[in-house]
């Protein structure tokens, strides 16, 4: 899908503690003739820039693994901000193949997009155009504050209790209210589809997991257009499958 949003004269913040990777992304973004292009070596430095009175960024591009504040902690701080930082600030997560276990948490925190390494200019522009054109809504701060985030001091992988999905995206369909005389649901069957073929609005019939078994989305999650875009982003990672099981309605 092509987005017509111009990426020129925008303001960006790149956050990565590894100087080479930070520099290569900065070089790419400099090609976009930004109004402002800042870099930070950690989540902590990024927050200082974000809380500066004159700071306004169109998008933050951040790595996962940093200290003392990692990318997920930065994302959570943005989404739960009560002060100067816009909670709906678009955030693109730079992901490596070993970060796939953390992607579920990033989805739950409404990361806008994912970009797998090696970073390419073409895909970077695609992601930026998409998230700036359609940043979408975010949920109330409290919805994010309850999401557990592995800190940079703790192990990077955490098992999740009961195998429950971490993803609680804002544009999930709300649960149906109880109605005593609910009409019978339409007959449906499940089918495995390539992510590129899944119709927006489809419902997962089985959890969406990485090849290592980490659940990224639970069964019954609604695959909104935004969610589909995010899942397609992460299929660039070796550890993420590009097929999902969804419910389809029986033809009448």
């Amino acid at each position: 899908m092509k987005y017509e949003t111009s990426l020129e004269n925008r303001s960006f913040l790149i956050v990565d503690d590894e100087p080479f990777s930070r520099d290569i992304v900065r070089r790419m973004m400099a090609e976009l003739k930004p109004r402002q292009l800042d870099t930070a070596e950690s989540g902590e430095e990024a927050l200082q820039l974000l809380m500066r009175g004159d700071a306004f960024y169109d998008c933050v591009i951040t790595d996962f693994s940093m200290a003392p504040i990692n990318g997920l902690e930065l994302l959570k701080t943005i989404r739960t901000s009560t002060k100067r930082i816009s909670r709906s600030l678009p955030v693109v997560m730079l992901t490596g193949h070993t970060d796939s276990d953390l992607v579920g948490t990033a989805i739950a925190l409404d990361a806008h997009a994912f970009l797998a390494k090696p970073v390419s200019f073409k895909l970077l522009c695609d992601r930026l155009a998409r998230v700036i054109a359609d940043p979408g809504p975010v949920r109330p701060s409290i919805a994010y504050s309850v999401i557990p985030v592995p800190s940079s001091e703790r192990p990077r992988t955490e098992t999740r209790e009961g195998g429950k999905s971490m993803a609680l995206e804002s544009d999930f369909a709300p649960s149906k209210p109880f109605t005593p005389a609910a009409p019978a649901e339409p007959k449906r069957y499940e089918k495995q589809l390539d992510l590129s073929e899944v119709p927006p609005g489809s419902v997962l019939s089985r959890p969406f997991t990485t090849k290592t078994g980490t659940m990224l989305l639970g069964a019954d999650a609604v695959l909104t257009p935004r969610m589909l875009n995010r899942l397609r982003d992460i299929t660039d990672l070796d550890t993420v499958v590009d097929k999902v099981w969804v419910y389809l309605e029986q033809p009448s």
Binding site: A67, T98, P118
Partner: protein
């Protein structure tokens, strides 16, 4: 530069992929970027060797992860994969695996750096 080092699909150093990833960078930019990679990652490899020798798995995990991301971004997939294995071994504090992998990582980085230096010289001619 491409003739000297890194034909398309080269697992050691794919400079054509890097050029493409950078949006069609010229040779001078490629030389600058790859030289910065060597300058930046060489100390990480030295640190990794020290941490492996000193049995400091947490520090080894950190530098292996950082070097891996850089290797992936410079389009040195073989080095990135080996660093990923080293990172996994460090995570598990599997010292047998670390002792086996560390020399492979060092050697692979040396070969990548040699290619980069050779390509830079070729470009300067």
């Amino acid at each position: 530069m491409a003739e000297q080092a890194g034909a398309a699909g080269d697992l050691l150093l794919d400079l054509e992929q890097l050029r493409d990833n950078l949006g069609g960078a010229d040779d001078a930019t490629l030389v600058e970027v790859t030289a910065f990679f060597v300058t930046n990652v060489e100390p990480l490899i030295r640190e990794a060797e020290d941490y492996a020798a000193g049995r400091r798995s947490g520090d080894l995990l950190r530098v292996a992860h950082a070097a891996k991301g850089a290797a992936r971004n410079v389009c040195a997939p073989h080095l990135a994969d080996q660093l990923a294995h080293l990172e996994s071994a460090a995570k598990a504090a599997d010292w047998n695996a670390i002792d086996r992998l560390m020399p492979l990582v060092s050697e692979c980085f040396r070969r990548v750096a040699e290619r980069i230096v050779a390509a830079g010289k070729e470009d300067a001619r």
